[in-house]
């Protein structure tokens, strides 16, 4: 295993597991600053996790083993997704492959597990959130796959390492298809990370919850799992955005540096969007995401208009 591979592996595991909670913390902090408040420390999510880890779980009734299995399944699928994602176009060669579409499947598995847990307890608020989350999941998956088609055009592969290498080559940056895919991906990113204008992660009003709804019946370590998984989803989406779209030429060290810079920049972008955009009506979200699909169609047309390089 090369040094670069080992380093990438360390960032995948340690970065993904340990640094992921920093992302929502950082966004909260930046958002508060933009709104003129001091805001909580970026380390606040860690304190939350520590507090939850030492609390006991709850035992709602009725429930089956599915209630208990859902948080571990959500975390396990996120962990596998973390090591599937190359860092700076490198990976130490974990035996789980690097396929973009398998990654999409793993995200769907997490969504399945948590929404099923909502049915297990049968709570109205949990199911309301679950039903919305699954509704959003339809355009999210469709647009995400269209994005994958567009980024696969120059390389003819869905291997994440090959895709990351493609984004490192300068001639891709002049392709309108590439930027169309980025635009659509940002919409998907807003939905997958549960950020405004699609979902409001700060809400305490059950009726408005989407991602948070099914989490209502959880406490203790199980809730800590789910909150970590939400943070890990931020990590996956932001790293994916960097690896697939941000120009990162040069050797591995330079690519790593681009990653280190670009993830906080993405956080800043999300904070700006959260500050300037109000949450939209639930039923308008699918149309909003569907616009990403149209952008992808235009991107494909532009690819062929340019002769397809």
């Amino acid at each position: 295993m090369s040094v670069a591979g080992a380093l990438a592996g360390a960032v995948q595991v340690l970065g993904g597991v340990l640094l992921a909670p920093l992302i929502p913390g950082l966004i909260q902090r930046l958002k508060a600053r933009l709104q003129g408040r001091p805001g909580p420390s970026p380390l606040q999510p860690y304190r939350e996790l520590r507090r939850l880890w030492h609390k006991s779980g709850v035992a709602p009734f009725p429930r089956t083993v599915i209630y208990e299995l859902a948080p571990p399944v959500v975390v396990a699928s996120s962990l596998v997704a973390l090591v599937m994602l190359p860092i700076g176009g490198r990976s130490p060669g974990w035996p789980v492959g690097h396929d973009a579409l398998v990654l999409v499947g793993l995200l769907a598995l997490g969504r399945f597990a948590i929404t099923l847990a909502a049915w297990d307890t049968g709570g109205g608020f949990g199911l309301m959130g679950a039903s919305r989350e699954l509704t959003f999941g339809v355009p999210v998956e469709a647009v995400l796959l269209m994005v994958m088609v567009l980024v696969a055009l120059p390389v003819g592969s869905t291997n994440l390492i090959a895709l990351s290498d493609a984004a490192a080559r300068p001639h891709v940056w002049g392709e309108p298809a590439h930027w169309a895919a980025l635009l659509a991906f940002v919409l998907v990113m807003l939905a997958e990370t549960g950020r405004q204008p699609i979902d409001n992660p700060d809400t305490h009003l059950e009726l408005t919850m989407v991602h948070e709804g099914p989490l209502l019946e959880y406490a203790g370590r199980e809730l800590a799992y789910l909150q970590w998984a939400a943070a890990a989803r931020h990590w996956i989406m932001l790293v994916l955005a960097t690896e697939l779209f941000v120009p990162h030429p040069g050797p591995f060290a330079a690519r790593l540096a681009v990653l280190v810079v670009s993830v906080p920049v993405w956080c800043g972008l999300l904070a700006v969007v959260e500050t300037t955009q109000a949450k939209m009506r639930v039923l308008r979200v699918p149309l909003f995401l569907g616009a990403g699909g149209l952008v992808c169609l235009l991107g494909l047309a532009s690819w062929f208009a340019g002769g397809g390089s």
Binding site: G57, V80, L101, G105, G156, S157, E206
Partner: protein, 647 residues
């Protein structure tokens, strides 16, 4: 005569003995005999698929009967036996005490034999004969069990639609036979080949339940007994695809590009349409029937991609897409049979399958319920089960069509990719709803409260099929190269547990499953520490009463509202009782109408009836009128001959 041929004949004889035995002797042992015979036939199919020499005759264009098994038939015989054996075994307990159980059991054997006959037919006469039997026997099987007005109407619709569509099968097969294409002579003439392709698409597409020719399927499948539903949804509609594959990939090959693009269109429509209507069903078996339409759509997407790849000169990807379609045929057969058998067990335990009347069955029926949940995960296309593998391969094929194809094809493939992704997400939505309403939460009716786990004889087949779902999800790579070789003999794919395709990041199913399972177990042990005393669920401090329980329509409401413009749901709110201006009781009815019925089938039926009424005016019943018709026709013919129009 080879050993395999003897085994095949012996298997058929054993099934036939079981058939006769069911009618005259004991029900249980004769069904066991039928299952044993189907297992023998399946063994022959498996042997041929994995490299044994073909058995019996080859395809011929003559009209004299001939039977044989080649590798393609071998694969489908394997699929058939994997479903038929558990289904027939299940019927032993399920038919106990059922009305006319003997006739049902006998007809089940006959149905299986008809399916075997269709797969082993090597000439057009045998093929069409068994094709008709395959259509008629399920109708008989349904009508033996129930003969209420509604069932009779639905069976009539089934026979009418499949026979109208069946014209396409007859016409295309006869044209192919007449021109010697079954025997290997390629068809000549673009027009003729296009005609055969269109006829085959209509004929086999109707029987496969492809939209918009599907209207019979959600009517007929839910009516049959559980094990027959499993055979119909799992195998029968696949045999229509078998016919389509034979025509498009062999007899009428090479198909032009547009056929592949048309298949992609039909596939995308069936996939999205099927799952969308499934989402709004309130009866479990009807819901599952709509999912059969969805999965036929996914298979058609794979087949269409294969044809497109062949037309644009990508033989390897053509073989991969073909393998994806075949793998999905196998996978869908397994999980759909599992779900139908599971639904049969629930119906036997509870007495009905209205989704809003079930609930809490996982705790009461852990074996059946657990297997059903696995099957639901598999059909929803979730890793690490088998449904995800074939959907992943199909998605990869579509994605690579978009990458390699010319602009129009690429655009179609992009839309088809999005459609398949949306289908997968909608299937997750639908089966979260199904598992939630059927297996989880509190029981929603007294019968549900009192439900008991079904007998071992009904449990074992369901668990067996669930184990197959896991096995094929973990080691699909053992099968994929064999399936790809059915299309391209020199496929550079080696045998692994996982699926490694060029132009993908690889899908190491075994390692991925192990990682997921081990991590889940580890985290589960770490995470479930102490628990506080049982707490009620959070409902803003209200008591949780049954009226707060969520329903099927409540859960799917957001997507219904989003797609209101397409689905055109109807709702009606009437005040039943009001007291001094204050409403006390309301009545609420809402429905998502099946628009294909109201906008397509009903106008066509009405027009046909009107045309028939017009034609009936000619039939006055008076002898003199008929004489005038005869004289008129004669004069007309003479005039035409005189004018030289008729030589």
């Amino acid at each position: 005569m080879s050993l395999l041929a003897i085994l095949l004949a012996a298997g058929a004889v054993v099934v036939a003995c079981g058939l006769v035995g069911a009618l005259i002797g004991g029900l249980r042992w004769s069904l066991l005999l039928q299952a044993a015979g189907m297992a023998m036939i399946g063994a022959v199919g498996t042997a041929v698929l994995f490299g044994a020499a073909s058995v019996g005759a080859r395809f011929r264009s003559g009209f004299s009967p001939a039977l044989g098994v080649d590798r393609m038939s071998g694969f489908f015989l394997l699929v058939l036996s994997l479903i038929a054996v558990p289904a027939l075994y299940y019927a032993r307990d399920a038919l106990r005490g059922a009305p006319r159980a003997r006739v049902t059991a006998g007809l089940s054997g006959a149905f299986c034999l008809a399916l075997v006959g269709l797969l082993t037919a090597r000439d057009v006469t045998t093929f069409l004969g068994f094709w008709e039997l395959m259509t008629l026997l399920p109708a008989a099987l349904i009508l033996v069990g129930r003969h209420d007005e509604r069932a009779r109407r639905d069976v009539f619709a089934y026979l009418a639609i499949t026979h109208l569509g069946g014209v396409g099968v007859w016409a295309s097969m006869l044209v192919l036979a007449v021109h010697g294409a079954l025997g290997g002579t390629p068809l000549h003439g673009e027009g003729l080949r296009a005609l055969v392709a269109v006829l085959a698409l209509i004929g086999f597409g109707t029987k496969a339940g492809a939209m918009p020719l599907h209207s019979w399927l959600p009517r007929a499948h839910p009516l049959a007994p559980a094990h027959v539903s499993a055979l119909m949804s799992g195998v029968m509609i696949k045999l229509a695809l078998y016919g389509l594959i034979r025509v498009l990939f062999a007899w009428d090959a090479p198909a032009p590009l547009w056929v592949g693009v048309v298949l992609l269109g039909f596939g995308a429509l069936s996939a999205v349409g099927g799952v969308l209507y499934a989402l709004f069903q309130h009866e479990l078996k009807r819901l599952l029937a709509f999912h059969s339409i969805e999965n036929v759509g996914i298979i058609l997407l794979g087949l269409g991609a294969s044809l497109v790849f062949a037309a644009i000169g990508r033989p390897l990807w053509s073989a991969i897409a073909f393998a994806a379609a075949l793998l999905h045929i196998l996978n869908h057969a397994i999980f759909k049979a599992l779900l139908f058998l599971g639904a049969g067990s629930f119906a036997a335990a509870v007495g009905g399958l209205g989704l809003d009347r079930l609930g809490g069955l996982l705790r009461r029926m852990p074996w059946t319920g657990g297997a059903f949940a696995l099957g639901a995960m598999a059909i929803a296309g979730l890793p690490p089960l088998n449904g995800f593998v074939s959907e992943w391969m199909t998605l990869q094929s579509l994605l690579h069509v978009a990458v390699y194809g010319p602009f129009g094809v690429s655009l179609t493939a992009l839309v088809a990719t999005a459609a398949l992704a949306a289908t997968a997400a909608l299937a997750v939505f639908c089966f979260v709803k199904v598992i939630g309403l059927v297996l989880l939460g509190a029981p929603r009716s007294g019968e549900c409260e009192a439900a008991k786990e079904s007998s071992v004889g009904m449990r074992a087949p369901v668990v067996f099929l669930a184990a197959l779902c896991v096995l094929l999800g973990v080691t699909p790579g053992l099968l994929v190269p064999t399936l790809a070789k059915l299309r391209l003999s020199s496929v550079p794919l080696s045998v692994h547990a996982g699926v490694y395709l060029p132009g993908t990041g690889g899908f190491p199913t075994l390692a991925l499953t192990l990682a997921l399972v081990l991590l889940t177990i580890g985290l589960w042990r770490l995470g479930t520490g102490r628990r506080a005393a049982p707490t009620p669920i959070w409902a803003c401090g209200q008591a949780v009463v049954p009226a707060l329980a969520w329903t099927s329509s409540g859960f799917t409401k957001p997507i219904r509202l989003v797609l209101e413009g397409v689905l055109r749901p109807t709702r009606e709110l009437t005040t039943v009782r009001a007291q001094s201006g204050v409403v006390q009781e309301v009545r609420y009815e809402a429905e998502v109408p099946h628009l294909f019925d109201t906008l397509l089938y009903e106008p066509v039926t009405a027009a046909a009836l009107r045309a028939a009424a017009l034609v009936r005016r000619l039939q006055s019943g008076s002898l003199r009128t008929y004489l005038i018709y005869l004289v008129g026709l004669l004069v007309l013919l003479l005039v035409l001959v005189r004018l030289g129009v008729l030589a």
